[in-house]
Each structure stands twice: as C-alpha cells, then as structure tokens.
Symmetry: C2
Subunit: 301 residues, 2 copies
C-alpha cells in the first residue's frame, strides 16, 4: 500500500452527504456535510469540498464511499458505483466514479449498511471480529456482513430485511406493510411498521408490555438465521428502533430461546451479552467505514 | 503452486471413506472405499492405501478431506481437523492431521456438505459461479456456500438445517422431530421428518397431493433466505428427499412466490429454472471437492 496521499471519505445518505478528508491513519483533516439534493447540485458541492481541502492538506490517493441505494457495489460490474432504480429524483444512473473522475484515483463503493458494518469492525463494537454482522432496524431493516474487514456480497448486496419470520397470527394479526412481502422483517418490525401497528414508536410503548417482546421475537429470528448462515463472531443491532428500552436484552433472551443451545461456542455464553450488542460508534459508523473503504481502494491500487 | 506431486483425496462419510490418489489436474490414478469403523481400524486402512498407491504413482504433495462431523474446520484453530462431540464411537478427538502426519504435507479439511459444494462448483452444476449455495436434503439438512471456490465459514460451519420456517399449523400440525428446535427445517422437511409424518418417503407420496407442495414451501423458505443473506449465483438442491418427482419444480414455484419479484437479476429470470437446480455430479461431488481441497492446501503451502 502506498503511504503517500490522503483519503477522501463519503457517507452518502438520503438526506445528507458527510464528507471527510483524512490521513491514511484515519485522522480527520477536514469534514463537512452537504444536503442530498439532485446530483447536479450535490456532485459539484462534493467535488468542491475535496478540491479545496486537498489544495490545503495534500493530494488525495483514494476515495471510499458508503452510500444509500440501490447502488451497484460489484467491483467487477461495468456499472460499479452507479445508482440503479432509486425513486430519488435524478439519482438513477448517477455514478460516483464519474463524479470523482477528475481526481484520477481508485474508488471503492459500498452500501450504507456495509459501510457502517466496516466502521464498527474498524473501531466500534466489532473490533477484533473476523466475521461481524451489523444490522440496522430503522426506516428499513438491513444487515452488512464483514469478513476480515471486507463486506460480503453475491450477485448483489444482502437484503436481510425481507426474510419472513414465523408469525403467531393469533397474537399478532398485523399483515405487515412491505409492498412485496407484507409480513417480512421490514413489514413487521421496522420503525414504520411499528408506527402503523401501534400508532407510536417502540420507545413510547411502555404501556403495551407485549410490544417489545413481540418485536424482539422477530429480530431474534434474524439473529438466529444470521448465526446459522454466517456464524459471525458477534452481532451488532443498531438503528432507531433499537433505542427502545429493554429491546436489546429481549432480543438476547429470544435468540437464546430460539437457538436453544444448538450452537455451542464460548462466544455465545453468558446469555449472549457479549454476542448481541449495540453499536459503538453511533452516528460516526458510516464515515468511519468510508475511510476504511478508501484504504481498501488504495490497497488494491 | 507446486506442479510436482499428487493429491490425496478423502471423502469421509459416516458409513464409508472414499479415497483417491489423483494428479493435480484431477485425473484419478487409484481409488477405493473402506468402511467407517473406529479410527483404530479406519486410520491404518487409509494410511495403507495412500502409502501403497503413492509408492506406485509418485509422492503425495497435499491432502484434501471432506468429512462428516461435527469437525473443526477452522485453519486458525489448534483443533483444526479434529472431530469434536460426534456420537460416533471412537471418533471424538480423532484428528486427520495425526492420521496423515507421516506424509508431512499440507492438509485441508472441510465438512462433507462444503466438500460437495466445492465439487459441484469445480465440475458440476455450479461451474462458473462466483457464489454458489449447495444444499442437501436427506437424513439432515445442510448448506455449503462457496465463494470463488472456497467455502465460507465463521466461528463454525453453517447450519442451515436449523432455521425455523414459517409454518401454517392449521395445514401442518406436525410438531417436527428436531431434538433442539422441533419444527426447524430438519425437523419438518428432512427424510426422517417426512417418514415420521407420513410413514413413507416423499417419492412414494404421490397419493398425498399436498405433500410435495408442503415440503417445497419449507425448502423455498431456505432458498429465499439463502438469496437474501448470500445472494448466490445459483442454488443447488440435492440429497435423497430431492429425488421426489416434481419437488425441484415445486421449490422453484414456491421460491418465486416468496421472493415475489423483490430481487431483480437476470439470473433469477425464467421461473428460476437455471437458478435452482439439482446436482450435476451425483455421488462424485464429495470426492471431487476433496481433490479441489487438496489443491487449495497446496496453493497455501
């Protein structure tokens, strides 16, 4: 890996872009946020930030991007770095590699949830893990799985939110809100699903004692399935819904009950307290992951 | 990779070991099968085969092993290649590296299902896939996921058979037979579960028209979940249960219904006919995978 040059890091969200210029060790030299408007406004603002800060601090050697989607994250694809069918006006077909072409340096692009997973692996609650699964439960439900610091993918990024968990329809007759699957995890346990079912967010449902346990049971199906199909060293559960009091503890209890001792490993002892955890970086996971993606772009040339 | 030397390949099953001495190109120079008795009987028989055939054909450069389990398949573990808590008399604590130590060459050990997955990737129905998921539905249910020819794992190999699928208890009140989970996939859809529920194997249940559709629906939950959490290029479904007439077609139909168009990719077009397929190698998948594991052992030195 070249020791020369700086990293340009981009956390591209649906409402704002966080931009940072850092050293290869991750020291932040400049940082800003710009609104996510159309590409004709946001691309030049992004270019200006990196051009101006680079003039001040030194040349950029690589970019790392953790972005909202849907976006092509396959380095082998001709459309790598391109937004696909996003309903967000103007972004379909927009490509990070075009927007950053003037810098003529390597670029690595990954999804927002994969970026956060890499950030947590790098310097958050996933430090020291060989395999880490980071799940966010918010407006949507998504999981990034990281192995040795690199996100896993196949023909596309993963879509854990669309797994349909077992549902006891007598206890929970809610049909779910997913336009594709109805009662998948996003349809049953995302923030909007909870609002639709109970008219309030989960952290304001203390009067509904079964609510936390019910959502925990659905999330435990995801946790168990992640264990059985990825065998991670640790599971991180974050996002707005996870801020509900008692939820992380209830997810541990329900996951223990569902796995029922079948997977025997020291990491799963102690009632999963060290195994299923909340994020360590909070709002900084995405930009931290983007910095690491920049380093990975550099390592590949 | 050294171009010198031969590959010793071992497919270790619960009732028999298949042994082969091959060139690095996979040409089989000698092949035999020996019964799986206790290690004190089976280990020397295995050693003798490789010593004798090697004397005839040339020195062995590496071993590849695809084995029944539970067995430690983590190359970073001190117990790599060791049977753990198997109920099979005498095998707990037995280690392939000890049994093959006299040859002083690299050894790669993987599970039987991962071995079959690698074999199918190498020269069966998974050729050309970057990510391949191979599932066997027989006495048990298990999945090996291969990426660029290497099986994926975390703190252990995967355990897809213990995922609990949604169950319509009105249509299928069967509580399942898994001692850990009752109605997980092994508990509901394995060969023994089908025998317990209907008193016959699935291929003899033509008189029970709902039987194939019901089993297909459970297997489609696994197929959908594999798509959402690994996004493979292709899914192979093999094993004794899959020999039931109409089952593979019913799994395709049910998986299409469950995914409901959410995952859009050319590979999933055509009603999943090229996406969900039966194995190409039949009984040779395991030994073919073991040969490739031997090549991988050699590539690592």
């Amino acid at each position: 890996m070249s020791r020369q040059g700086l990293i340009g890091a981009v956390e591209a969200g649906g409402t704002k872009f966080v931009l940072a210029l850092t050293t290869q060790d991750g020291e932040i030299l400049a940082r800003t946020r710009i609104p996510t408007n159309t590409p004709t406004e946001t691309w030049p603002a992004m270019q200006d930030f990196f051009a101006e800060t680079s003039e001040l601090h030194g040349p950029i050697a690589a970019f790392g991007v953790a972005s909202f989607g849907p976006i092509d994250i396959d380095p082998a694809s001709p459309a790598y770095g391109t937004f696909t069918t996003t309903p967000k006006a103007g972004w379909s077909g927009a490509r990070f590699h075009d927007a950053l072409a003037s810098f003529s340096v390597p670029i690595k692009v990954d999804t927002d949830v994969n970026g956060a997973a890499i950030g947590e692996w790098m310097s958050g609650a996933g430090q020291g893990c060989r395999t880490l699964a980071y799940t966010t439960i918010g407006t949507g439900v998504g999981t990034g799985v990281v192995r040795n610091g690199h996100s896993l993918m196949g023909i596309s990024h993963f879509e854990s939110g669309h797994i349909v968990p077992p549902q006891n329809h007598a206890a929970d007759p809610f049909p779910g809100i997913c336009p594709y699957h109805g009662n998948c995890l996003e349809g049953l346990a995302s923030g909007p699903a909870i609002e639709r079912r109970w008219g309030r967010s989960l952290d304001r449902l203390a009067s509904e004692p079964g609510a936390v346990a019910m959502i925990a049971d659905y999330l435990a199906h995801l946790a168990s399935t992640l264990v059985l199909l990825h065998m991670p060293d640790r599971l991180i559960f974050g996002g707005g819904v996870m801020k509900a009091p008692g939820l992380i503890e209830a997810v541990r209890t329900a996951t223990s009950a569902q796995l029922n001792g079948y997977v025997s490993h020291p990491r799963l002892d102690d009632g999963l307290e060290r195994y299923i955890v909340t994020p360590g970086l909070g709002d900084d996971a995405g930009i931290t992951g983007a910095i690491e993606l920049g380093r990975q772009a550099l390592a590949r040339g």
